[in-house]
């Protein structure tokens, strides 16, 4: 009797461990190494100063939100390289339309969300109906948005957002910043859609094998278009957060943050396969947090900017290699 329960418990425990994305082990290692380095070589503020911990999270908000959307398209075996410019588009439109007037906030949010949905719709249509590889398609739409933005708003004042709007970036509900609440909300919604809705199951099916998906009666195009719309919408939310932090939008906020490639990198680090069909938003969150932790540690240690870039590149490769090396699949 006792043995049986024990075995049952062990099996259960093993399942729980299997459910944790492998990337969390890497996150734990990075955090421990980072804190140790901070204790030994710097002032040890990461442990002693809770503000730094909160800042790691706030710093992860912009990348984290857009990475959730990237996770959706990548589960569908697609990719979205236009997010950086969608972020810029949102930031510029927001500060341009709002012109410091708090009363316009709801209208602006509706307009940028509709614009984002439109960008996602175009991405999805080009990928599914014109059969253009998503890498090229979203690179192209990104170039188009970039061109329009730089051509139209390269000079002159672009307006600014009112104080009340900046609350999203700087204020909070008690000790918890609104931005972290936004990130958690986006994560939970993403998790809910992927794990508990029919649409989520369809997306995994389409990403796993689009032909089988189609043969089993899925409208694969609609599923993928939906994923692209979700991705663009998360980019809009990131853009809203960024413009609330900066106070005004510029055409280069998105590409300067390398949100396109970094959201892809964090998603892959989080265990979502580039080939689609596998992965989830919580793995992606860990990938984003790894970036946040190493950025903070580097700042604490005062690492040279260029060396930071080198280490970041090495960590991206190592993070993915740490579990891909055991996979039996061939990478390409």
């Amino acid at each position: 009797m006792t043995t049986k329960t024990m075995i049952g418990n062990e099996i259960k425990r093993e399942n729980i461990f299997k459910k944790i994305p492998q990337v969390y082990y890497f996150l734990v290692i990075v955090t421990i190494v980072g804190i140790t380095l901070d204790q030994v070589f710097a002032n040890g503020n990461i442990l002693s100063n809770p503000v730094i911990l909160r800042n790691i999270l706030v710093r992860s908000v912009a990348l984290g939100i857009v990475a959730v959307g990237q996770t959706f398209v990548m589960i569908g075996a697609s990719i979205d390289l236009s997010v950086a410019y969608t972020i810029s588009l949102t930031a510029v439109m927001t500060s341009l339309i709002i012109q410091g007037d708090p009363a316009r906030t709801p209208m602006v949010i509706v307009i940028v969300l509709l614009t984002g949905a439109f960008v996602g719709l175009i991405n999805g249509l080009v990928v599914t109906k014109l059969n253009v590889n998503a890498f090229i398609a979203t690179l192209g739409t990104g170039l188009v948005i970039k061109g329009i933005l730089n051509g139209t708003f390269s000079s002159g004042s672009m307006g600014s957002v009112p104080k009340s709007f900046q609350a999203l970036g700087y204020e909070g509900f008690g000790p918890v910043p609104y931005s972290i609440i936004l990130l958690v909300a986006v994560l939970l919604i993403g998790w809910f859609i992927l794990s508990w809705t029919k649409y989520g199951a369809h997306l995994y099916a389409v990403g796993g094998n689009i032909l089988i998906g189609r043969l089993s009666g899925l409208r694969t195009s609609r599923v993928l278009i939906g994923a692209h719309i979700i991705s663009s919408l998360t980019a809009v939310f990131s853009g809203l957060f960024i413009v609330s932090r900066l106070g005004a939008g510029t055409p280069w906020v998105g590409p300067d943050g390398i949100y396109d490639l970094e959201s892809v990198a964090t998603t892959v680090i989080g265990g979502t396969a580039l080939s689609g069909g596998r992965g989830g938003v919580f793995g992606t969150l860990a990938g984003v947090l790894i970036f946040g932790v190493i950025d903070t540690v580097f700042n604490q240690l005062g690492v040279d900017t260029y060396l930071k870039m080198v280490l970041r590149g090495a960590i991206i490769i190592l993070a993915v290699a740490s579990y891909s090396v055991r996979s039996k699949r061939e990478a390409a």
Binding site: L130, N131, N133, L143, V144, G147, A265, L307, V310, A331
Partner: protein, 335 residues
């Protein structure tokens, strides 16, 4: 899908037309696209259609064409090489630093940079083939490594000049060539690289093995292809072409920290316009070379139309999507 039309009557016009049509249909779409753009450019700028104009165009297009041909080796094997642009930049700032205003170090600098290229390519290939990191991520990491490493090496401020002999490779002309007058040195580099890559890709087993891996790596492995080694060779070729392109870009434009920016995306776009299939299994060095020329001609066309730089980006984005959609109508592998 060539259907031999054999009719008892030898003068069957319909059959002949069908044959011609079948032959025309087999022409990769990049050639008519290139022809259209070239006609457009020469309409707007009559100088373009002269021998001098063509030579200047070859000189300008050589780096991108070389990069695209190298990128093809990786694309055809099913991967991406996003580190190309940063390798171009590294070549330029690294060469300037090594030469350090010594004209006689020109060839030493080139040799050292080619050595760097081999190492970078091998590391890319090792990470993808042995650590099984998807190449998009592996080469993105390498992009940061090379860019950050290059800036760290030079201390973030430009140091040294590129010697005259070095810059001659990218911007010089050979004078007194019979028939055409003068020929750009970069054109000679382009022809040599193209010849080597065409032989490697089309005349040796390497090309067929790369395509087999890109089509189905598992099947390729089971049929005895050394998948890992071949992948490493593909990445090495791509990195070496990036070094060569870097030498040309440095010669043409001089030393700058942003010289290589965006080249990786351009070379992927050029290769795809040239009919290379992303995720592998299909591609031709000839067509990809024309893909590079097409993209460069497109930039000339948009320049001539007087569009401001930002709108050129936008139109270029539209044209890339359009060209790939058009090519995709004819070269569809699977949905």
């Amino acid at each position: 899908m060539s259907i031999q039309v054999e009719k008892p009557t030898s003068l069957n016009m319909l059959g002949l037309l069908a044959n011609i049509w079948a032959w025309v249909r087999k022409i990769p779409p990049v050639y008519p696209i290139f022809l259209l753009i070239a006609i457009g450019v020469s309409q707007l700028n009559p100088n373009f259609a002269t021998v001098n104009g063509i030579m200047a165009f070859i000189r300008r297009a050589a780096p991108l064409v070389i990069l695209a041909m190298g990128q093809l080796f990786v694309l055809a094997s099913g991967g991406f090489d996003l580190s190309q642009g940063s390798v171009v930049t590294l070549t330029i700032i690294g060469s300037a630093l090594i030469m350090h205003n010594h004209e006689e170090y020109t060839y030493l600098a080139i040799a050292i940079m080619l050595g760097f290229g081999i190492v970078i390519g091998l590391v890319n290939g090792f990470v993808v083939a042995y650590l099984k990191v998807p190449s998009l991520i592996a080469t993105l990491g390498m992009l940061l490594l090379v860019k950050g490493g290059g800036l760290y090496w030079t201390g973030g401020a430009p140091k040294g000049y590129l010697s005259e002999a070095y810059r001659f490779i990218g911007r010089g002309y050979i004078d007194n060539v019979p028939l055409i007058g003068r020929f750009p040195v970069s054109g000679i580099v382009l022809l040599v690289v193209a010849t080597i890559l065409i032989i490697l890709f089309h005349k040796t087993n390497l090309g067929k093995q790369i395509l087999a891996i890109g089509d189905n790596a598992q099947a390729a492995k089971l049929s005895g292809i050394k998948v890992r080694q071949i992948r490493m060779i593909a990445f090495m070729i791509s990195a070496i072409t990036a070094i060569i392109a870097g030498i040309l870009v440095g010669g043409y434009g001089g030393s700058s920290y942003t010289a290589g920016e965006g080249y990786e995306m351009q070379s992927v776009s050029a290769a795809v316009i040239g009919g290379a299939l992303l995720l592998g299994g299909k591609g031709s060095v000839y067509d990809v070379a024309f893909g590079g020329l097409t993209l460069e001609a497109m930039v000339s066309l948009l320049n001539l139309l007087g569009l401001p730089k930002p709108y050129r980006d936008a139109v270029q984005g539209l044209i890339i999507i359009g060209a790939v959609a058009y090519a995709g109508l004819r070269t569809r592998k699977r949905d």
